[in-house]
Symmetry: C2
Subunit: 452 residues, 2 copies
Amino acid sequence: MPNHSEDAEKFLLAAKRSEIQALERLASSCELVTTVSDLVHQLQRERGISNIYLVSSGHRFAALRMEQIREGTCSADTFRQLLHDQYLQGDRCSSPRDMRLLNSIAYSLHGLDELEELRRHIDAFEVNALASTDAYCRLIAGLLSVVFEAADVADDPEVTRLLVALFNFMQAKEFAGQERAWGAIGFAGSRFDEKLHLRLEQLQDCQRRSLEVFLEFAGESEESSWQEIMHSEASRDLNRLRRVIAGLKNGEPISPEVSEVWYQLATTRIDAMHGVEDAMAARLLQVSRQRVADAQSELGHHRAQLQKMKSSDWGRVPALAVLFDPEVPGLYGRAEAAAVPTLHGQNLTHSLYDLIRSQVAHIQKVNEELEETRRALTERKLIERAKGVLMRNLRLSEDDAYRTMQQRAMEMNLRLADVAQKIIEIGNQRSAAKPGGGSARPRSTTGDGKPV
Amino acid sequence: MPNHSEDAEKFLLAAKRSEIQALERLASSCELVTTVSDLVHQLQRERGISNIYLVSSGHRFAALRMEQIREGTCSADTFRQLLHDQYLQGDRCSSPRDMRLLNSIAYSLHGLDELEELRRHIDAFEVNALASTDAYCRLIAGLLSVVFEAADVADDPEVTRLLVALFNFMQAKEFAGQERAWGAIGFAGSRFDEKLHLRLEQLQDCQRRSLEVFLEFAGESEESSWQEIMHSEASRDLNRLRRVIAGLKNGEPISPEVSEVWYQLATTRIDAMHGVEDAMAARLLQVSRQRVADAQSELGHHRAQLQKMKSSDWGRVPALAVLFDPEVPGLYGRAEAAAVPTLHGQNLTHSLYDLIRSQVAHIQKVNEELEETRRALTERKLIERAKGVLMRNLRLSEDDAYRTMQQRAMEMNLRLADVAQKIIEIGNQRSAAKPGGGSARPRSTTGDGKPV
C-alpha cells in the first residue's frame, strides 16, 4: 500500500482534470473563432456589394446583393447556433476572463439583431453608402472583438500565438476592406481630395502594422501563405493602382472602368486573405483539439501509475521522500544537506511524489512559455493605450501619436513599451487631477485598447 | 417589446454570472489562504520547539512540544477538511490556472502525510536539529506555494494586491523563522563561524526584500501595523542582539542565557508578525466576499432593468442604436459622422445596449487595474528567474546575482526588468545550444521563480 493519503492523489488528478476542462473550453472558443471568421468575411462582402448598390442607386449588384444576404444570414445562423450550443446549454463553468468573451458576444448579437433593419434602410435608400459602410464596420468590429477576447483569455501558449496571429490578420483584412470602401466612395464621387488620400494612406499603414504583429506570432506555414499573396500578380496590380490613385489630383476626371478594376483587384486580394484565414482557423482547431487529447492521455497515464502503485511494490516510497528531498530547497543556506539514511539508494520513480513533480515541471514549462507570449501582448496593449492617451490629450492622429512615441524611445534610449508605460502614468495623474476627467467617457468596445 | 433577441440578453446575464462564479471561487481561495496562514504559523512553532527539544536531547520543551503537535494536528485537520469541502465535493469548475493551485495542494498534502513520520524520527532522535529544521522548511515552503498560486491566479485587482502583500509577508516571516533557527543552531554548537554569520546576514536581506514587496502591495492599515512592529521595543532589542551575534568571533564562548533571549525575542517578533497576518487575512476575506456581494447586486440590477424593459416603453430603443452609435468607431476616418435621423434626440439609457455598454466599462476598468498589478508581478517574476539564471550559469550567490543585475541596469540606463529579460533570453539561447542543458534539471516547487 502506498503511504500517502487519498487526498494528495485526488488533488493530483483534480489538477489534471482542471487542465483538461480548460483546454476543452479553449477548443470550443477556437471553434467559435472559426465561425466568426466566416461571418466577418460574409459581412465584408455584403458591405462592399451594398456600397456599390447604393452608389449606383440600385442599378448594379441588386441580385448579387440578395444572394449575398442569404449567405450572410446562413453564416449568422451558424454563429448563433454554435453560441447557443456551447454557452447557453447546461451549467457551464466559467472564469472572469470568460466574462469579457461573453459580454463581447452579447454586444455582437445585439448588433446582428439590427442587421435586418440596416438592410431595410438600404432597400429603401434611407442611408447613403458612407453611413451604410460605417454601420457594417461597427458590426464587424464587434465580431473582431470576440476574436480578440478569445485570444486574450487563452491559456495555452501555442493556441494563444495562433489566435493572436489570426486576430491581427483579420484586423488587417478588415482594414483592406475599408480601404476598398473608401476607394469605391472616391470613384463614385469622381474625386479624390486630400483627406481621402490621407485616409487611404493611413489604412495602408494600419494594414502594415497589423500584419507585422501577425508575422510576429504566426507559424511558418501562415507566413509563407502570406508571402505568396504579397508577391502575387493581383497584389502587384493593386499596388500599381494604389500609386495611380495617390497621383490623382482633386477633381481630376476618372474613367469608370478604373473603379471596376479597383473593386476587382481589392476583392481578389481580400478573398485570397480569407483563404489564409481559413487555413489558420483549421490549424487552430487541430492544435487546440490535440492539446485536449494530450492532456487526456496524461490523465490516463496518471491513473494507470496510481493503479500500479496500489497493486504492487512500486508505490512504496521511503517515508520521508518529500520532506527530505535534497533537490527541493529547505532551510536557507543548507546547501551541504547530506543524504538522509532512509532515502539512500531508493528508487523514487513511479511514486505519487514522482507524478506530482512531473506535473510541476509540466505546469512550469507551459507557464513560462505563456508568460513570454503574454508579455509581448501586454506590451502591445500598453503601446495602444498610450497611443490613445496621446491622441486624446495632444489631439494627435493615430499615426502621429505612434511616431511621437517612437521618437521619444529613440531619444531616451528606452523600449517603446517603457515609453508607453510612462505616458499612461502621466495620463492617469492628469485625469486624477482633473475632477471628472479621463474616466468620464466610456471606452468603446471595439476601438482603442484592442490592437493586439 | 424590446427589439433585441433573447440571446443577446442571455449573454449579458451569462457574462455577469461568470464574474460571480469566479469571484466566489476567489473568495474560497482566500478562505484557504487564511487556513494556510494559521497552519504555517503552527508548523513554524513546532519547528522551533522541536529544534530546542533535539538540541537539548529531549531535556527541554518535551511537554510544550506535545502540546504544539496537538495544535498543529488540529490546524492541519481544518486545512484538510476545508480542502475536501471546497475542492473535492461535486463537479467543481476550474481553469488551467486552477491546475497550478490544485497541484501545489497535492504537493503540500503529500508533505503533510509525512509529518507523522518526521515526528516519530524526532521522538527517536533519528534526525538532528538541522535535518529536522530542513524538513519543516520544505513542508512550509510547499504551503507557501499554495498562497503564491492563489495570488497568481486571482482575477480581482484589490484581492490580488492583498494576496501578494500577504504572501510576501508570510515569506518574510518564514525567513525570520529560519533566522531564529540558524541562531539557535549557532548557540547550541556554541560557535558562530563565518558561514553562519553570512547566512544570518542573507536571511535578514531576504526579509527586507520580501517586506519591500509587501509594502509595495499592502494597504495603509497593514503598513502601519508593520511600522508598529518595526519600532517596538522587542524589535529594537532583537536588532541589538543581531549586532552582538554579528560581532561574535569563531568559537568565542557564549553564555546560555543569551541563547534563551535570542529565542524569546525572535519568537515575540514572529508572533507579532502573525498578528499582522491575521488582520490581513481577515481583510482579505472581507474584501473578497464584498466583491461577490457587489457582483450579485449588479446581476439583480440587470435583471430588474430587463424586466422593466419588457413591461414598459423603456426598452424601446431606436432600431439602429448599436450600428449607428457615433461613440463607437466604425469606418476608419469617418470622424465627421453625422447623427443619423432615426437616432436623433432619443434616450438611449435603460436599454439593453446601455446595460451592455456599462458592463463593457466595468470590465475595462477591472482589467486595466488588474493589468497594472500583473505587470508589477510579471516583472518581479522575471527578475527572480534572471537571478536564477545568473546563479546557475555564473555560480553566483543570490545576493551577488541581484547586485550584478542592479549594476547592469544602472550602467545601461535600463529598467531592472529589462535587464532580467535580456539575461533570460541569453540563458535560453545557451541552453538551446547545449543539448540537454538547462531543462534537464526539474525546477523546484518552492524555490526560484516564486518570489513575488
